[in-house]
């Protein structure tokens, strides 16, 4: 979707202002949100693409006025409601109205070292032919889907060059909506700054964007 989250090339957000000696967390609640990611994704069976899609659906000014971990909190609540694991009333009251006996056991302390050190790769073993090879010129499809996509607006309808083939990965544009993993090759595509931003951009500079077979056509 063409949402406000798709920040590349936007103006008006001001200076960057890094914080000196920034702590890992600024509040206790931020820690809990970070810590809840793994258990909630495990319990709900949702994938990271579904998680990101929920954040993008927050509403523009809500998205802009809230922080990173508030975005996460929003997505947790939505994913849990969608999966039927909690109700609105439970989220309001903080009290479980009923305990579903059928759920699998939660992630435990002893699982954490393995889970954090392993993660969950989106790489797939499926044998899928790549549509492009290194150095191929590619045109990014001029698509404006209303669903989740990892193809940012600023590269659409632009010509780039395949820099490297990362291999076969889950396709988030379908996986985010329960439409299957549709594994396909994901590439790093190199765009000249001038192709993206016009003649005033410095000549030699470039931007590398990871895109999938379904985003590209031969340029």
């Amino acid at each position: 979707m063409n949402g406000v989250h798709d920040f590349g090339g936007m103006h008006g957000y001001g200076e960057i202002n890094p914080e000196k000696n920034e702590p890992v967390f600024h509040n206790e609640w931020e820690k809990r949100v970070l810590g809840l990611f793994v258990p909630i994704m495990a319990a709900s069976g949702m994938c990271v693409d579904e998680f990101r899609a929920q954040i993008e659906l927050m509403g523009a000014s809500n998205y802009l006025e809230t922080t990173y971990y508030e975005h996460w909190l929003h997505a947790f609540e939505k994913l849990l409601l969608i999966s039927g694991l909690v109700t609105e009333e439970e989220l309001r009251s903080g009290k479980a109205s009923m305990v579903d006996p059928a759920v699998s056991p939660p992630v435990t302390v002893s699982d954490i070292p393995v889970i954090t050190a392993t993660g969950s790769s989106a790489r797939r073993d499926a044998t899928v032919e790549p549509k492009f090879r290194k150095n191929d010129l590619v045109l990014v499809r001029n698509e404006h889907p209303t669903h989740h996509t990892r193809c940012p607006r600023y590269v659409r309808d632009k010509i780039g060059q395949i820099d490297r083939d990362h291999g076969v990965f889950v396709f988030p544009d379908t996986a985010a909506h329960g439409n299957g993993e549709k594994p396909q090759h994901c590439y790093s595509v190199k765009f000249s700054a001038r192709e993206l931003w016009g003649d005033k951009a410095p000549e030699g500079d470039s931007i590398y964007v990871d895109l999938w077979d379904d985003h590209l056509i031969l340029g």
Binding site: K95, A96, T118, G119, S188
Partner: protein, 212 residues
């Protein structure tokens, strides 16, 4: 007080009071715990992992090894994931790593314009500015101005490459080894290497002998 601190991530003053957020987080964790879906001790263990164990020191060690061992550097640039795993760093938000090398002629810069993807196993959790609208919007369209705000002024002859993490690959910059570090061992080298140099918003300074 802690409410005030969180304003670092807010761009506007009239944001929601945090107490509301705190209540939501508490309610959420409580319900999930009561339902047996979440074990709070596991939540604690994750927090401890990312607050104390995983951070940019990991990435520094990778870089120091690459500077010290040409064969390791080759492996690192060819297959970042397994070379980084040799040092014991792997997992969430670093399942598939790509390491890109700064040279005298090429400077690399990382961003995630669509959300805030970042290589956790080597750099830890991302700083607030990396997740902010100003950085995410500007890094791809005016990287030189962004670098200047970080105090890095590069000549037009230096090619800038910006890497937008739009997929599940996680990038890390291999900074140039500064001059004056020839006789340093890996541990001493690791001390020089900053998080920002591995994101690409900093160039490491040459070490001048005798300087304090």
């Amino acid at each position: 007080m802690s409410d005030h601190e969180s304003d670092h991530e807010h761009h506007h003053a009239n944001s929601r009071p945090l107490s509301e957020v705190e209540l939501r987080v508490k309610a959420l964790e409580q319900v999930l715990t009561e339902k047996g879906l979440v074990d709070p001790d596991a939540v604690d263990a994750i927090i401890e992992t990312y607050e104390e164990k995983v951070g940019p020191r990991n990435g520094s060690r990778v870089v120091a090894r690459a500077w010290s061992d040409p064969e390791y550097k080759k492996r690192l640039l060819k297959d970042g994931t397994s070379a980084i795993a040799e040092l014991g760093y792997s997992g969430i938000q670093g399942e598939d790593m790509v390491v890109i090398e700064n040279t005298p002629d090429v400077h690399n810069l990382l961003v995630c314009t669509l959300c805030s993807c970042y290589p956790w196993p080597t750099l830890g959790l991302p700083p607030v500015w990396y997740k902010s609208a100003p950085y995410r919007s500007r890094a791809v369209s005016e990287p030189r101005k962004v670098l200047e705000e970080f105090g890095v002024s590069l000549p037009t002859t230096t090619e800038i490459r910006v890497w937008d993490s739009t997929a599940e690959l996680r990038y890390m910059v291999l900074p140039e080894r500064p001059s004056g570090t020839d006789d340093m061992d890996e541990e001493a080298l690791a001390d020089l290497i900053t998080r920002d140099s591995m994101i690409g918003v900093e160039r490491l300074k040459p070490i001048v002998k005798g300087a304090s």
